[in-house]
């Protein structure tokens, strides 16, 4: 606790200088970002000095950086001084008491997605015994995991309980200097998960199961760190198909994965943030940095993502293939409907010998959506016999949407083999009519074609989630044709 006191002391001294007073007991910080706010967050989290220092360095670095303008997306300028960077979790008193108090539109979507009644309450944040339920179930899971030495907790808890591990790995894959949003996240992150799988352990369950039951509302600046020690194995699932709303428009998460020798991490995402209306108004900006480091030989990191939400998605889950024979995979379905804009793809950085990467990207554009695939395959000089296979397919629904591909290939070793295939197709009226004539409605026909288009990616998802993801795409595409 002494570090925390130090922090607060430092904080108190400084606040005068800025003529600005934030009560440490306050539930939230005032809007705006400066060193005080960074200190306030760190103090609130009772963080050790090193972490505060790290945050401050990140903040100072961020001040020198410019927001990237290269993505193929458009949005009005973000005023970073308007954002509230810390607010305490809502008290259960403010939560709806039953589903009757929840937005009927939200309930309708749960219905369409076939989410079980109990789970609907939890997702809608209903403050009834669902809470007790999740706590007890969560505890059981936690015990099972603990028996194996697996650590799975919030990043804040990890900082308190396992500071050495966090200190060892935090920022080693995505340094705070990496990019504008990563720097911002490093300075102000308040929430996220930490997962550690010790040597030789196979995580006995999809971490999704636990996560879905226990999922706290994910923060605006989420920070996730997963470390898989030698020969360990973990499958982690983030997000859920239920629609997520948030009063915070800007989301800038950072996810770091570290796989040591022969370790394997499978990271699956289903992202369904509020996309905004037909004009993109009110939707979430999702600017995410996700990167995995295949640090040891024969390690493997596999990203699977289904991105259907957000007004703007800016996201490139990547793999740094450092260890020899390391394997990186990226399977993605990205949907841009309404006025959504998605600029997403991956980076595969081949450094070790005989490293292999696979990229399968499926972009769906509908409405006035704009979907861009942006991918880098980099083969460094050291990466003898590196191999990459990229398949990048676009599907257009209607005439007002767009699909774009920006593949970058940088090969510095002649023994490398890099393959790139790309297709663009359109759901034609002929196809729809053919289905209609066989008795299949237009909506079902679109779903069928879209699911067919995405199936290579869906088969990479944990089974139950593949089914949900299919439904989700269907719901997200409702009314996109005819």
């Amino acid at each position: 606790m002494s570090t925390a006191t130090d922090t607060i002391e430092g904080f108190v001294k400084k606040e005068y200088k800025y003529g600005f007073i934030t009560d440490i007991e306050a539930d939230s910080a005032p809007p705006g970002l400066n060193e005080e706010i960074v200190r306030f967050i760190s103090a609130k989290k009772q963080e050790p000095e090193w972490l505060l220092e790290w945050r401050l360095k990140a903040y100072r670095h961020w001040l020198t950086m410019k927001e990237p303008r290269w993505p193929h997306v458009q949005y009005p300028p973000i005023n970073y001084q308007d954002i509230v960077y810390y607010s305490a979790p809502k008290s259960p008193k403010d939560a709806p008491r039953s589903l009757d108090e929840v937005d009927p539109k939200l309930l309708e979507t749960y219905e369409k997605l076939g989410i079980p009644l109990r789970e609907r309450e939890r997702l809608a944040g209903v403050a009834v015994d669902a809470v007790f339920d999740s706590v007890s179930v969560g505890t059981t899971f936690k015990e099972t995991l603990a028996e194996k030495g697996i650590i799975f907790c919030s990043i804040s808890e990890a900082v308190r309980e396992h500071p050495d591990l966090v200190k060892k790995y935090l920022g080693t894959v995505v340094p705070y200097t990496d990019n504008f949003f990563a720097a911002l996240n490093s300075a102000v992150f308040t929430d996220g998960s930490f997962c550690f799988i010790p040597k030789g352990v196979r995580c006995p369950m999809e971490l999704s199961t636990y996560f879905r039951i226990n999922a706290a509302k994910s923060g605006q600046f989420e920070r996730t760190l997963i470390v898989a020690e030698e020969g360990s194995h973990v499958s982690y699932l983030e997000g859920c198909t239920a629609p997520m709303r948030d009063e915070n428009q800007l989301h800038a998460a950072v996810v770091e994965l570290v796989a040591l020798e022969k370790a394997e991490i499978k990271y699956s995402t289903v992202q369904n943030w509020y996309p905004g209306d037909e004009n993109g108004v009110g939707g979430i900006y999702n600017f995410v940095t996700k990167r995995g480091l295949c640090k040891g030989a024969n390690s493997k990191i596999s990203w699977t993502q289904v991105e259907t939400g957000s007004a703007i998605t800016w996201k490139y889950p990547s793999c740094v293939l450092l260890g020899d024979n390391a394997v990186g995979e990226f399977y993605s379905v990205a949907l841009a409907n309404l006025k959504q804009q998605a600029d997403t793809g991956t980076k595969m950085i081949h450094i070790g010998k005989n490293t292999r990467s696979t990229i399968v990207s499926k972009g769906i554009s509908a409405g006035r959506g704009q979907n861009s695939y942006r991918g880098l395959v980099e083969v460094r000089k050291s990466a003898i016999d590196a191999r990459n296979y990229t398949q990048c397919d676009s599907l257009l629904i209607g005439d007002r949407c767009g699909a774009h591909t920006f593949p970058y290939i940088d090969v510095r070793n002649t023994s490398a083999s890099v393959e790139h295939e790309a297709t663009t197709s359109k759901i034609g009226e002929d196809q729809i009519f053919y289905c209609n004539q066989r008795g299949i409605s237009t909506q079902d026909a679109v779903n069928m074609i879209v699911n067919g288009f995405c199936k290579e990616v869906f088969k990479e998802l944990p089974m139950e989630f593949a089914v949900e993801a299919q439904k989700l795409l269907g719901v997200s595409l409702e009314g996109s044709v005819g």
């Binding site: 009519f433 069928m448 074609i449 288009f453």
Partner: protein, 256 residues
């Protein structure tokens, strides 16, 4: 006398201001097979498309009554549920969509609409295996995406296979024979014959008398300039094969 299954009365239709059908009338009863022949561009496929519910066409006059109901009021899938089936002149490819999955969805949609229980995967597979024999379709076709990469003849055969599974009340076959080799023609035609019952009807569009050796029509209609200008028995087809269309279409031009 019972009501006809299908009554087309004075149908006028076109596309983008261009008239294609000019007062077409036709009646079919259950248990009947009718053939439509006629020169290229006379409107045969247009008629088939309009019956199936394609929206590109503007109906300017006339009526189509099917089982006592206004067919033109129904959405295409509703028509399908009520037993209208079109074997396309050019079947459409749907990459990525598995044939079995597609056909199961089609059949179950129809069954649902008619208050019948849906078939589960096992029941469907049993049904499909039996129906494949109708057109001697190799089983691996079912594992492939709908029509994707099928040869012209295979696509046609697949249409009849779908027909066998969906058991339509009114089947419209638009040049199903074209593109088929001699053996396939026989197999497909025999398949179509086997699907004939006293309760359904088949409207067969073709250019070749040859098909009608297998599928024997009750009536043969000649379509020209969007109207039926002559109707006869199966011997009319032979006469057309021998003399071409000129001898009737010329008379039509004078009459019009």
């Amino acid at each position: 006398m019972s009501k006809p299954l299908l009554e087309i009365k004075n149908l006028h239709a076109g596309v983008e201001g261009r008239k294609i059908l000019n007062g077409l009338s036709l009646e079919m009863n259950a248990g009947e097979v009718h053939a439509i022949m006629g020169p290229n561009g006379s409107g045969k496929s247009t008629l088939a498309s309009i019956l199936a519910g394609r929206e590109d066409y503007e109906i300017t006059d006339g009526q189509v009554i099917y089982q006592g109901e206004d067919l033109l009021e129904m959405a295409p899938e509703e028509r399908a549920h009520k037993g209208v089936f079109l074997a396309f002149q050019y079947p459409i490819e749907i990459p990525g969509v598995n044939s079995t999955y597609f056909l199961k969805a089609a059949l179950n949609e129809k069954r649902k609409a008619n208050g019948q229980p849906e078939l589960d995967a096992m029941e469907f597979l049993t049904l499909v295996k039996e129906k494949m024999k109708v057109v001697e379709l190799p089983e691996d076709f079912l594992k492939r995406p709908v029509n994707a990469g099928f040869s012209g003849g295979e696509k046609k055969r697949n249409e009849i296979f779908q027909m066998a599974v969906l058991e339509p009340t009114l089947a419209i076959l638009d040049e199903t024979d074209s593109g088929l080799d001699i053996d396939a023609l026989r197999i497909v035609a025999e398949g179509v014959n086997r699907l004939k019952t006293a309760n359904n009807a088949q409207l067969v569009i073709t250019h070749y008398q040859r098909l009608l050796n297998y599928i024997v029509p009750d009536q043969v209609h000649v379509l020209s300039n969007g109207r039926i200008i002559k109707t006869g028995g199966k011997e009319l087809a032979l006469e057309l094969e021998e003399k071409g269309y000129d001898w009737i279409t010329k008379g039509d031009a004078v009459a019009a």
